[in-house]
Symmetry: C2
Subunit: 369 residues, 2 copies
């Protein structure tokens, strides 16, 4: 089995701009080539595009625009965790010996059709993400007696951390009061509790061991992979205060690399809404049930960037198909020691948690240097 | 590296019906379970949906409908060769040790958005497939002095063979005269030279060696894989009378399993239009350049089902995301000896050729019993 590492990456600012998806994809790839002049187009044997965009054949389109002639090329879609699904596919091609070097480009426009899941009409009048987020928030607050004020700290922390991320859409710190005063979307959800759909792209190149070792002095490896789908409709969830798919995914990912959750030094979690961060902390095993929000408060009070250093989805913005790639790039930069003012203290093991549709599916990746 | 074989399959009739994509997907999966009662939902660790449909999250949707809780689940799109791309991904997950049993379901509606590639506006007023097919036909006829009459034999042969395929949309044999008298679409293309967009689905289960051996007395293995993308826009093609991506894909696929093209006993080729079959025969190496149509004539005259036994795309219909799966099922049935009146003479090695967009990308699979 080939060992798989991260050879290069490039990312665009996350904005509300109206560029075509092809332009946005290429922008992140140009950034990748600019910062990694040792990577050549003719080395790339597979191109995977991660997106919810309805345009077809985008992997060959990107390849032609960039001068790449890959063996394998296609688009992968799985709503909000399209990005981590694509990284797992890239890992598989290398591990199975079908490709040595794989490019994954995740891209989305702010008006992505992936915002709405039309299949489950039982979800009612709200667009899908708002509806489940509101039910999760109500359930979590009720089960663990958490107030709106305490939950608001997630958004406050992640907006603050995003100020050190030059690609984040958030351009200012906010207060708990700002969150509570922001527009009420449902009884339990306010505008500043939500990540924002944005236009953006992120490209990452995975490669097999010898190529990684030749290109990098601080190689970062993908050592753990766990994925789980429990359903498509969140009304099937066993609980609205925990993430069953995340529990199973993290278990498999840690088992694969023989680690414990306490070995993880830095993590990107899927904070699509404020409530998702404490629930994810608990389901991943960082905190006991009901204690996630306490961990967020402690991290904020000690200015510890361990969780969602780039500002997470709430601070950075959430370009669906790009999010899992952007999370993985952040953890790679952390492990390389290249995270500038977001840098955590010499992390050796990092984790990515990327999910879709009320945690009906989750991916967990473990990265090590 | 885990050896990968085909554990089960199910397919729907290819029709012009108006069912929802979810219904069509599930129909092929029900057929799979019906004909393979030994396969249980809880064995399936990955679900890949192959489609150009714009609905999102279809792999979790199918999983929930069918009572499957997979680890890996997502949609793969690459226009007309989405199906074979999905099979290669399934192969990789098993080979890389991330899953033991993978379901791939390809499905499309007759009104698939994948019929049109909007990216390359230089393609002019015609919908994309007609445009390139017409140019290929003119180029091939001119280069090798082939008449419309001779080319028509492809459609005649494949309609004839489709009469033995209970799932094919073609319901009658046609003559060369029928082809020549059918509606003229361009100077070089007639209606009966074209495969038809249809509604249909095909499901296949890939699994690792021990599971295959336990379930099947006539196991069929995927032993060769080759893929190549040369561009997205066909105007970049070096020639309009050959398929460069196919040449490279078949070379890699045969190399992987240490075979020659003369070892292949039966093949499904991507005859999206009449001209594609002789060109594919030549680019795959079955025929010398310009001799492909002669091979088609010989096969027709000797009633030899070696090429496109199920009637190919022209006879069966072309549900984009399902086509590569349906081709692979046909070759599996041939190798198992389960192809009924389509059965070729004790084949040991079979080949699948699936391509997109004027052969700007191709997949070749080799299957062996």
């Amino acid at each position: 089995m080939n060992k798989v590492g991260i050879a290069a990456y490039g990312i665009t600012p996350f904005t509300k701009n109206d560029e075509k998806i092809e332009t946005v994809m290429l922008r992140s790839l140009k950034e990748l080539f600019k910062t990694n002049p040792s990577i050549q187009q003719d080395q790339i044997q597979s191109v995977i595009v991660s997106t919810n965009n309805n345009s077809k054949y985008l992997a060959p389109v990107l390849s032609e625009m960039a001068g790449i002639k890959p063996k394998i090329s296609h688009t992968i879609e799985s709503l909000c965790n399209s990005g981590s699904n694509s990284i797992v596919s890239a890992y598989s091609y290398i591990s199975a010996g079908l490709a040595d070097v794989v490019l994954v480009t995740g891209a989305e426009r702010y008006d992505s059709p992936g915002q709405i899941l039309e299949w489950d009409e039982s979800r009612g009048e709200y667009k899908h993400p708002m509806f489940w987020a509101s039910i999760f928030t109500k359930s979590y607050k009720r089960q663990f007696s958490i107030s709106d004020e305490r939950l608001a700290i997630v958004s406050v922390k992640n907006h603050k951390q995003a100020q050190e991320n030059p690609n984040a859409i958030s351009d200012k710190k906010i207060t708990v009061e700002d969150v509570l005063k922001s527009r009420k979307i449902t009884d339990d959800l306010r505008l500043l509790d939500c990540s924002r759909p944005v236009t953006g792209a992120a490209s990452i190149i995975l490669a097999k061991e010898d190529i990684i070792k030749k290109n990098s002095q601080t190689p970062v490896w993908i050592t753990g992979i766990g994925q789980q789908t429990t359903s498509a409709g969140f009304t099937k969830n066993a609980s609205f205060s925990s993430m069953e798919s995340t529990k199973r995914a993290v278990n498999d990912a840690l088992k694969m690399c023989n680690k414990k959750i306490s070995d993880v030094d830095v993590a990107e979690l899927h904070d699509a809404f404020s409530v998702c961060e404490p629930i994810a902390l608990e389901s991943l095993g960082f905190s006991n049930p009901g204690q996630g929000i306490h961990m967020v408060e402690e991290l904020y009070n000690t200015e510890n960037f361990k969780i969602n250093p780039r500002g997470g989805l709430i601070g950075s913005g959430h370009p669906l198909g790009a999010t899992g790639i952007a999370q993985t790039i952040e953890i790679t930069q952390q492990l390389e020691g290249n995270a500038n003012k977001r840098q955590t203290d010499n992390p050796k093991t990092g984790l990515v948690h990327n999910m879709s549709a009320a945690a009906t599916s989750s991916t967990v990746l473990v990265l090590e240097k």
